[in-house]
Point group: C2
Chain length 402, copies 2
């Protein structure tokens, strides 16, 4: 008997999460085991309210799929809802799980896919464990996404390559922009990644002068020395810095700049702004901050061709895993070679994935801790190759909106 | 007798100023009146030190020109140096002008081009006036550039279309990004343009919820009302705001948020951050700011095809003006039709250009002052049509560096 499938997206937006959604749907539509492919709006939160859409109908032509693949952010919407522990004995928690499985059964759903980061992989892990408890044969498969590239058990994550390409391209442009004047000035580019420095490391492809990742303790004194050393070489210094850098006591540098706002409230300032203040104070030089902000995760207009292609591929692979009977697993990338680049899809047990943060290895960072190594750059490079550029209409990118 | 020509770039970087440089050189190299085409490094500042490069040699193959056209920021470098008044009777000022003309004569320069904004057009005006005083037959021609689109006597300025395309594309992506959660939240996108709102107006192409330009007095009370009205319709509100909005007394809104930094210094905060604080305080909603910062002026990876093409064209036109004997003028655009779009090059007397700011006309802004009109959007639209995308190598845009 044919079963229905359902797909959700969760966590922060990326430029590639819709490519993965497309990949899952492409594969499911080919299978004779599947009746209808549903999407859940706003992840598990919308699922609880049975806010479904019919992806089998919405994604119909090849053009639909291609447009979806080049549209940023989660087309199905997202949520931050965490499921309670699957071993909880609280009545309300048990009721929640029972409700989920009641909805699944009533809608004849045999396959459940969740595309997301760490928390989302934990959600799918919990559901698959609960399914075993209930002797349910519903298949639960996770497909990763995160610009942070910090998930365990996979070489890299879908979405990272596109964010990295945007970051490196923007850095290349900022390096041109900052070079036009001869005045001594520091431009600090603040990049996302609170715990892992992968995205900040990608800035190194454009060769900024200094790169600081959260994997190494940050010293303000050494930072000032680094800037002074750069000023010996040239007037315009460009620094890429992770929002998550911390001092040797583990205190975020962004906590240093406790400002009061217009209403006298203490505000956490951005890391870049704090460093900017320190430079102005200690070196008396011009300094400014560029925060790449949410642009770095949603700039699908210059996606990585490799990333978008791989994101579709891993989605399809995840669908095949479930169709072949697998559950409680996540689709992964296994890199077999960097030069020439070669990468396959595999699976990992979700028990090994959830709640682990994969950081940039120390050997990818130079000894001083103010740049990454050539090996690191060459590791990242294949992930940003190729340009994924959407169709433009009337001057703007065409988006597929569900 | 053949003469040499020299070209300088000045003012803030744009994605199209090198396209104009290319256009000037392309035309000059075709002329039998020209011997060598020089570039001055860092505008008039480098000129005074005779820091020249040989553009005739540097720009040799068609590929050189095309790469230059797609490289952002001023390839020759820029400066902010203003010349003294041409009527000044101070000895040092007279000496400065005499030195300029001595350098020009000694280098057999017959044609002087300056690509820039308002201040740069004033520089070229002063030089042309001084030339008359000295009975010099050196030709001085200005070619405009500015992302602000605020120069008088021209329909629009080279560089505006590319910045506008980047702003509108980023807004379209931010609108996708912000739509994924159901939580009430305001995203404020702060856009450059201290006195004229043209660039902020371009955000309207992507249909954000609210758009505030500096041309209309900004009222915080009305802003809060506008946000509340949007919240009645949807949870995620996206606001495009010019950095230069002012209250009815002409006070910059950014002055409201006088913060103290880590060292107790008063800091001028950005307009977006001030509005963000106000929203959190008064409405208790989530709010965040995206500053498009220098990215909006240097993002050549998604230039406007129309802008880059026109920027080359107006550069060539400026060169022809000088070769035909014109001086003291600026090359301009005259739009003959919006639908279908049609635009020619003309010239304007620099006396009418310098030190005038061309603002967005009131009739391009809605009555409430919180959005632009359809007419405004349709006026901007042709300027962002077509995509100018550079060649990529190893995942990054190829840049032409002088």
């Amino acid at each position: 008997m044919k079963k229905n499938a359902i797909i959700g997206q969760s966590g922060g937006p990326t430029a590639a999460i819709n490519a993965t959604l497309s990949g899952v749907v492409r594969e499911l539509k080919k299978s004779d085991k599947i009746d209808t492919v549903y999407g859940m709006h706003n992840g598990i939160e919308g699922f609880m309210k049975e806010e479904f859409c019919n992806l089998s109908k919405l994604l119909f032509t090849e053009n639909d799929f291609v447009r979806l693949e080049k549209t940023p952010a989660a087309a199905l919407g997202s949520c931050r809802l965490k499921l309670p522990s699957e071993t909880s004995e609280k009545a309300e928690d048990i009721e929640m799980y029972n409700k989920i499985f009641e909805i699944l059964d009533r809608n004849n759903i045999g396959y459940f896919f969740y595309i997301g980061g760490n928390d989302s992989m934990d959600t799918i892990r919990k559901l698959s464990v609960y399914a075993k408890k209930l002797n349910s044969d519903i298949r639960f498969v996770g497909v990763p996404k995160t610009i942070d590239n910090d998930l365990a058990c996979t070489d890299h994550t879908p979405g990272y390559g596109s964010a990295a390409k945007y970051v490196a391209t923007s850095l290349a442009e900022i390096l041109r922009d900052t070079s036009v004047y001869k005045l001594k000035a520091v431009t600090i580019v603040e990049i996302m990644g609170r715990d892992a420095g992968w995205l900040t490391a990608s800035a190194a492809l454009a060769r900024p002068d200094l790169v600081y990742l959260p994997e190494v303790d940050f010293s303000i004194d050494e930072f000032l020395e680094d800037i002074k050393a750069e000023f010996e070489k040239k007037p315009n210094v460009v620094v890429a810095v992770s929002e998550g850098i911390r001092d040797k006591d583990g205190r975020y540098i962004s906590e240093d700049g406790s400002k009061t706002d217009a209403f006298g409230h203490k505000q956490l300032s951005g890391t870049g702004r704090v460093l900017e203040s320190i430079l102005k104070e200690k070196l008396g030089c011009k300094a400014r901050t560029v925060e790449l902000s949410i642009l770095q995760r949603c700039a699908a207009h210059i996606g990585s061709g490799t990333d978008i292609e791989e994101s579709v591929k891993i989605g399809s692979f995840g669908a095949r895993l479930a169709l072949e009977g697998e559950t409680g697993c996540m689709a992964t990338f296994v890199r077999t070679s960097t030069k020439p680049y070669s990468c396959n899809c595999q699976k990992a047990d979700l028990e090994n994935v959830a709640n682990v943060v994969r950081k940039v290895p120390r050997e990818f960072i130079n000894e001083r801790g103010n740049h990454v190594t050539t090996e690191c750059i060459e590791w990242i490079r294949p992930l940003v190759l190729g340009e994924s550029i959407p169709e433009f209409e009337n001057g703007l990118p065409v988006q597929f909106i569900i």
